[in-house]
Amino acid sequence: MGNHYIPNSAHKEEMLKEIGLSSIEELFADIPEKFIKEELNLPEGKSEYEVFLEMNEILEKNKTVLEMPTFLGAGTYFHYIPAHVKHLIERSEFLTSYTPYQPEISQGMLQALFEYQSLIAELVGLPVVNSSMYDWGTAMAEAALMTVRLHKGKRKKFVVPKHTHPERLQVLRTYTRGPEVEIVTVNWNERGQVDVEDLKEKVKDAAGVYIEIPNFFGLLEEEIREVGEIAHEAGAYFVVGVDPTILGIVEAPGELGADIVVGEASYFGNPMNFGGPRAGIFAVKNDMKLIRQMPGRIIGMTKDAEGKRAFVMTLQTREQHIRRAKATSNICSNEALVAVAAAIHIASLGPKGIRELGEVILKNTAYLKKRLSEVAEIPFDGVNFKDVLVRFDKPYREIHEELLKRNIHGGYYVGSHFPELGEAALFAATETTRKEWVDALISALKEVI
């Protein structure tokens, strides 16, 4: 019997005969006999129904944030994705297509990605955006490499806050090991923000300086402009990493002085999915020097043979399939569909929705913070967005355990990354956070502490 995914399963004999072969084995005659694997030690195929049941049964073992109030953030947030966004990116013409190598029959995806680039450009305040990196972390790492390339290797230092998101910092360290870039960290001050004096001491000969909005503690860094100026004065490029959901209420990083903006696009339009897929934002100033050093795929507008507006992949000479070993990056497959989902979500929100989203999150975070301050210490003042750092008097793991028993998932323990903060954790709110969840958390904490 044939395989339901493989139409010609049923016609092997016939086709072999037509091309003058007598067996499938002939087609594999070039493989040394000794390497031929007779049979894999794997299960036999199952019916779709059985696999449906099996996968459902496995998935039953997950407990979702809909099933328990969850205060985890730290780089991954529970945002609500409108149903139409999901519906549209599941359209199989988008979903099952690939890199638009043939623009004439791929205008839909090309235009959607051009729109993504354009929407992100508005948010971040830089006019040149690529059509996605893997995630914020890899985008940031590629930005670091780019600043080094821009200095033609004469500067090999990249300055980041010590309180850069640990996931991202780890990615940066791996990515920069090739060209042996030196990663220098700047301390935070008593308000949990970049210590500008420390930065000034360390910025010399830096290829780039990096800062995040908001920072790992959920705080809005207040001296971003100053940091940018310090970087520029030292001849370094200024790279800003941003959670774009804040950009309705916070000034565009491009306007704050950034030369390169990176960030996470998947906060729009995409569910958490246990952390992936995501999509990294990568934007630069309209400066051919920077553009030529950009990693990733870029969609451009042009015209067709009849003068009609059309879209196409452009500036490909930076890319690996042309430049090979000298490419700006090795990236090929990116996160196009994630980017399109983000674009549809951003377009649906519009200027008003983006602002309102920012405000709701800001207020919900403030509510969470206020309530948390009733039961624990908030070590840093300042404005929080999503994450709030909270310090407890008792080992956080114990508190966490007690919360779980009460069907509440507490925050993210930061003690392992930053022991100096003590028994601290990040608790997060977004627009999805419900009052009754916070109230339940606080009651539980009161019992537990």
């Binding site: 070039d30 638009p100 990236i331 419900r434």
Partner: protein, 496 residues
Amino acid sequence: WDEPLIFELSRPGRVGYTLPKPIEDVKVEIPEKLKRKTPLELPEVSEPEVVKHYTRLSEMNYGVDSGIYPLGSCTMKYNPKINEEIANHPKVAFIHPYQDERTVQGALKIMWELEQWLKEITGMDRFTLQPAAGANGEFTGVMIIKAYHLDRGDTQRTEILVPDSAHGTNPASASMAGFKVVEIPSNENGTVDLEALENAVSERTAGLMLTNPNTLGIFEDEIEEIAKIVHKVGGLLYYDGANLNGILGKVRPGDMGFDIVHLNLHKTFSTPHGGGGPGAGPVGVKEFLKDYLPVPLVSYDEENDRYYLDYNVPKSIGKVKELFGNFAVLVKALTYLKIMGKEGLREVSEVAVLNANYLARKLKGTRGYELPHKELRKHEVVFSAEPMKKETGVRTLDVAKRLLDFGLHAPTIYFPLIVHEALMIEPTESVSKEELDAYVEALKKISEEAYTNPEIVKSAPHNTAVRRVDDVLAAKKPVITWKMYKELKEKGEIDY
């Protein structure tokens, strides 16, 4: 369609969203100097308009569900809908990566199970599922090579060997990892030139990156010898899994001597390509390299029947991506594997290879196309339209564009670089005999046209949403965002 940009649909006052109210109307102020003052020029559109816009855009796009999509080296196979259904489950979407392990046992089990399948399929001993795509996997692999040599104090290994037929990502990845790339030429069979390889290897050799079957669709039948040559000088052998579909279930990279393997779940294991991504590029290694894998791995504590994130990887290269990988993609691949089973996977490569060879032999002999190198191919075949170009002036690009007029997707063109005017065709196992016949017919028809009425081919496509797109202009006058477009338009620098 002539679909405007979403920005052009904007009308002040329209909204396309709803949001819950804040929990409490707390007063929080963004510091004055950070408040957004630059106006946000985003489109104002309602939900029905958004839906119509992107529905129409989707209809202006060709996907695997539209017809044959024989992009060589991309393995554009059918993407089973059950994969999507399972991956869209709320138990996938609504879990946070930092949840307590006890609350995500299902997710961890999926990752662990997938690793077991991939290990057996490739003959490797341990896998990381972290890389987001093939190139990210390659980078992981070469960083492991780097870490391995350095860890052994072997500091002089600065070269990675790459055949001239390799994907561009191979040299680019090696280069990102700080290696010098040494290109190895192919011989007249289209396979690695052993003599050249012998001459190239040295104590500076960190490793060789090889695609097998290679990008010509030809199996590197001297693989045992190749492995010996590389291993002899202390180098490692890296397997680029882009073409695994051609040997799936038939022969395993691990058995052929490869030390590191990356796979493309979006190619071989049927997860959709999404217009360019997301993909997933797991990397597998032999036992002696597993301590170098990125953190965390997923391990299973059999005693307590518990899956966990394992950060105990002593010599780990660190992280090549945030968190644990493109989880939703992993779910799709595992679903596919369970449905296919061992016999199904074997059937994949048998029919994929049959389809490629069927097409190759049906097309062979058609005027203007030439089949260089060996006749026997695996899952893909590379023709050269060099004779056509010489005889009629019709280039491979023209042939590709003309195919679009027949409602067919073009093959990969001008790759691999070692074949002039290359047409790299990978039908995959998902297409029917009738589709293969129709494709051959179309290519034959185009050959006929090239020799009788070349203009029609050179000016193709004629029946598509837009006519041939001017990519030279796009590069000369970059218009990358709506912001740039508006500026250039206002200045009168562009007329489109």
